[in-house]
C-alpha cells in the first residue's frame, strides 16, 4: 500500500494556489459533489478543468462575496483508508496541500453511513463545513435530520442544501465565506473508547513531524495504529515500543484487527449520532422508481431490459453518428479547393496541408460524429445510475474473462474511441484488473474500426460478414481475457454500491460531454493530425512501395493478400479508418466496390486490421498511463491475436467457402 501512495503523483499543476484560499469538496461517491461543483462554478472567475494523472480533477476559481476562492472537486471516497486509486489521490491531496476548508458533501438519504467518513474527516483537523445534500429526496423518503443537533455533535457548521435544485446554496456560501474570513475553529475529533484514546494520546506525544502541516498530529497517531502504510515519511515516532504495546493491548481487548476496531468505533459513533439527530417519520411506500429499479436489477427481467438498452444504445449511436457523418461530408469536401492553389506552387507543401486537412476532416468527419452521441448516451447512463446496473448484470460474464462488472464502463466507452476508455479504467480498483481490462479494451472495435468493418463489408461482402466478424471479435476478447487472467492473480471480487436511480440533469450531461470532447481534442486530435502529415509525406516520397515489398512475404505469403495492402497497415497504425482510404488509393480506384479482392481476402484483411496494433493516439495514452512495458505487452498480444485470427479465417474460408 505504501508504495501505491508514493507511486501516486499529483499533477504538477495541481497545487493549492498560494494567493487564494483553497476549498475542497470531499464526500462519498454519488453524494452530488460534481453537481454542487457545477452550481458553485457557475459564479466563476475562470475555469481550469484538466485531467489529472489518474483521475480527473475539476478545479476552478470562484468569486465569493468579492474575494476569489480556489475550489477543487476531489474524487469521491468512502474512508481515509484508501482502497481505490481515486481515494489515494484525495487523501494525498488533503495531506500535502494547504487546504483551508473542506466542504463535506453528504447524501442525506444515506446519512448514517456518510457520517462515518465525516467523523474520520474530523480527525484530520482541517476546518469542515458539512453540506447535507439531496435534502429534498431525503424528505420525500421521510428522513428528517435536525441539523442544529448534528452541528452540536460534530462541532462543525451543518447546512441543508439541494445542489440539483440550487436550494440552500447561498446559505452554504455565507457559512463558507465567514469561516474562511473569520477562520472557523479547528474541529475537535470524536473521542474513541477510553483505553484506545489513552494510547492515541501517548503515541501523539512521541510523534515528531518534520514538515509543518495543518494536519492534526492526532490523525497520524490514529493512522499509525489503524493503517500504518499510509503514514508518510515525514511523520516519525521516537519511542517505537509504545506503538507496539498499544497495538497488542488494543487487539487483546477488541479481539479483532486494528483497522476493524477503529472502523467499528466510528460506526458506533455514527449510529449514535444519527439516532439522536435523524427521525424516520413516514415509512414510505415503495415509490415507483424503486419498483422499476427492481425490474432493472433482478434476473430475468434485468437481462431483457439490459439487452434492450444495449441495442438501443448502439442503434442510436450509429443512427445519429451516421446522420452527422453524412451531413458533414459535403461541407468538408467542399473546402478542399481552397488550398488547391498551393499544388503548383510547391507539391510538398500541398501534400502537407492536404495531410493536415485530411487529419482534421477525418477527426471531425469520421471519429467525432460517432463519438458525440456515444458520450451523451454514456453520460446519461452514468447520471441515471443505470451504468452501475449494467455492471451488475454483466458481472458474471465478465468474471468468466477474469474481470468483474465494474470494467463495463470502459468497455462500453471503447466502442466509441479507445482513448477515453483507457481514462475510464481509472474507476477500477486493483491495478491487476486495470491492466487486464486495458489490454482487452484495445480489441474492442472503436468507431474508426467499425467504420472499416461496415465500409468494406457493405461495399464488397454484404452485412452478414460484419456480424460474423463482430461476433468473432467478442469471442476472441473473451478467450484472450481468460488466457491472460491465468497468468495474473485471482481478481478481487465485486463489491459495489448500487446508487439510487435518478432522473439525469440536462446541465450535468452537457457539461460532462463537453468536458470529454475537449479532452479528446487535447489528446487524440494532435496525433490524428500528426498521423496524416507523416502519411502524406510517406506518400509523396513513394515510400509506400518500399513498405509493400518489405511486408510482402508476410502479407502475401501468410495471409494470401495482394502486396499493395502492405502499406495500408502502416497507415492503419496512424489512423484505423485510413487503412480503408488507403486501400482505394493503393489500387488507384475511387469506389471501394471496385477493389480486386475475393470475399475471403476482404474478411481476412478486416480481421487482421481490427486486432493488429493500437492506433497511435491509444499507444501514446497507454505509454503515459501504464508505461512502455505494458504497451509492449499489448502490441505483442495484439500482433499474435491478429495473425492467429487472420490465418484461422483464411483456412476456414478457403476450405469451406470460396
Amino acid at each position: 500500500m505504501q508504495e501505491l501512495l508514493l507511486g501516486v503523483e499529483l499533477p504538477k499543476k495541481l497545487k493549492s494556489s498560494k494567493l487564494y484560499k483553497t476549498v475542497a469538496l470531499v464526500g462519498q461517491p454519488n453524494s452530488g459533489k460534481s453537481t454542487l461543483f457545477n452550481v458553485l462554478s457557475d459564479i466563476k472567475v475562470s475555469t481550469a478543468n484538466f485531467a489529472g494523472t489518474t483521475v480527473e480533477y475539476k478545479e476552478t476559481n470562484i468569486n465569493l462575496f468579492g474575494n476569489t476562492v480556489h475550489l477543487i472537486d476531489l474524487p469521491g471516497l468512502y474512508s481515509l483508508n484508501p482502497v481505490e486509486m481515486g481515494e489515494f489521490l484525495t487523501l494525498k491531496f488533503l495531506i500535502e496541500n494547504e487546504v483551508d476548508l473542506i466542504i463535506n458533501v453528504i447524501d442525506s438519504t444515506l446519512i448514517t453511513r456518510s457520517l462515518e467518513l465525516t467523523i474520520e474527516l474530523l480527525e484530520l483537523g482541517i476546518p469542515i463545513v458539512t453540506a447535507l445534500n439531496m435534502n429534498d429526496e431525503a424528505q420525500k423518503k421521510g428522513i428528517h435530520i435536525n441539523e442544529k443537533k448534528l452541528s452540536e455533535f460534530l462541532g462543525v457548521e451543518v447546512v441543508k442544501i439541494s445542489a440539483l435544485y440550487g436550494k440552500g446554496i447561498n446559505n452554504l456560501l455565507e457559512i463558507v465565506h465567514s469561516s474562511l474570513i473569520y477562520g472557523s475553529v479547528k474541529p475537535n475529533p470524536i473521542k474513541f473508547t477510553h483505553h484506545i484514546d489513552e494510547w492515541i494520546n501517548k503515541i501523539q506525544n512521541e510523534l515528531y513531524i518534520e514538515i509543518n502541516s495543518n494536519i492534526n498530529p492526532r490523525f497520524w497517531a490514529i493512522k499509525l495504529l489503524e493503517n500504518p502504510e499510509i503514514v508518510p515519511k515525514f511523520v516519525k515516532i521516537s519511542a517505537n515500543e509504545i506503538l507496539e504495546k498499544s497495538k497488542i493491548d488494543i487487539i487483546d481487548k477488541h479481539k479483532t484487527e486494528l483497522f476493524e476496531a477503529f472502523a467499528y468505533e466510528r460506526h458506533h459513533h455514527s449510529m449514535e449520532i444519527s439516532h439522536k439527530t435523524t427521525k424516520y417519520i413516514s415509512h414510505f411506500k415503495m415509490p415507483f422508481i424503486e419498483r422499476l429499479d427492481l425490474l432493472l436489477l433482478k434476473p430475468p427481467t434485468s437481462f431483457i431490459f439490459g439487452i434492450f438498452f444495449l441495442l438501443a444504445y448502439f442503434f442510436l449511436i450509429f443512427y445519429i453518428g451516421g446522420w452527422i457523418a453524412s451531413a458533414l461530408e459535403d461541407p468538408l469536401q467542399s473546402l478542399t479547393p481552397i488550398y488547391e492553389g498551393i499544388k503548383n506552387f510547391s507539391p510538398l507543401l500541398w501534400i502537407i496541408t492536404d495531410g493536415i486537412y485530411q487529419g482534421i476532416s477525418g477527426a471531425i468527419g469520421i471519429v467525432l460524429p460517432y463519438f458525440l452521441p456515444l458520450l451523451i448516451l454514456t453520460a446519461i447512463l452514468e447520471e441515471t445510475g443505470y451504468l452501475a446496473r449494467v455492471a451488475f448484470i454483466l458481472d458474471n460474464i465478465f468474471h468468466k474473462i477474469g474481470l468483474h462488472g465494474k470494467s463495463v464502463a470502459p468497455f462500453i466507452m471503447g466502442f466509441g474511441c479507445t482513448v477515453p476508455a483507457v481514462y475510464a479504467t481509472r474507476i477500477i480498483e486493483s491495478r491487476r484488473d486495470r491492466l487486464l481490462a486495458s489490454v482487452l479494451l484495445n480489441f474492442i472495435p472503436c468507431s474508426a474500426r467499425l467504420t472499416v468493418i461496415f465500409a468494406l463489408t457493405t461495399a464488397l461482402t454484404g452485412p452478414i460478414w460484419a456480424i460474423v466478424i463482430l461476433a468473432y471479435v467478442l469471442v476472441a476478447i473473451g478467450f484472450t481475457g481468460k488466457l491472460l487472467s491465468l497468468f495474473l492473480p485471482k481478481p478481487l471480487g465485486m463489491i459495489m454500491e448500487i446508487p439510487q436511480l435518478r432522473f439525469p440533469t440536462f446541465g450535468v450531461i452537457i457539461k460532462k460531454t463537453l468536458y470529454k470532447v475537449k479532452d479528446f481534442f487535447k489528446v487524440a486530435f494532435p496525433f490524428l493530425i500528426l498521423g496524416s502529415i507523416i502519411l502524406s509525406i510517406l506518400d509523396y516520397y513513394k515510400v509506400t512501395n518500399f513498405i509493400n515489398s518489405l511486408l510482402q512475404p508476410f502479407i502475401s505469403g501468410l495471409l494470401d493478400l495482394p502486396k499493395e495492402l502492405g502499406s495500408t497497415l502502416i497507415f492503419g497504425f496512424l489512423r484505423k479508418e485510413l487503412a480503408v482510404l488507403m486501400t482505394s488509393q493503393a489500387f488507384g480506384i475511387t469506389n471501394l466496390s471496385e477493389l480486386p479482392l475475393t470475399i475471403t481476402q476482404v474478411v481476412v484483411y478486416i480481421v487482421f486490421i481490427i486486432f493488429y496494433l493500437p492506433c497511435i493516439s491509444t499507444s501514446a495514452v497507454f505509454w503515459k498511463e501504464f508505461g512502455w512495458r505494458h504497451l509492449l505487452l499489448t502490441v505483442v498480444v495484439g500482433l499474435a491475436l491478429s495473425t492467429f485470427s487472420a490465418v484461422l479465417f483464411k483456412v476456414i474460408l478457403t476450405t469451406f467457402f470460396i
Partner: protein, 77 residues
C-alpha cells in the same frame, strides 16, 4: 449459514466477515458491519448478490458470489 445461500427477501444479521483484508475494508467502508441487519434483494446465480442494509436505511450493495461465500449470517426471525 452463508450469505450466498440466503433466499430473496429474507432478512439476516451479519455474524462474521472472513474475506481478505482489502475486501473487508471495502465492506466496512460501504457501511456493512458485524450485527448489521440486511435484507437480500436478489440472489440468483446469474448475477451478484444484492443486499440492502436495513440498520442504516442505506443504499444497496452488490457483492460478488465469491465474497458472499465468506460472509457468515444468521436468520432474523
Amino acid at each position: 449459514m452463508l450469505l450466498s445461500e440466503v433466499d430473496n427477501n429474507v432478512i439476516v444479521r451479519v455474524v462474521e466477515i472472513n474475506t481478505n483484508e482489502k475486501a473487508k475494508q471495502r465492506l466496512l467502508a460501504l457501511g456493512l458491519h458485524i450485527n448489521d441487519v440486511i435484507q437480500i434483494i436478489s440472489n440468483s446465480n446469474f448475477s451478484p448478490i444484492l443486499i440492502k442494509n436495513i440498520t442504516k436505511n442505506d443504499a444497496r450493495i452488490a457483492i460478488g458470489r465469491g465474497i458472499a461465500q465468506k460472509i457468515e449470517v444468521e436468520q432474523v426471525v
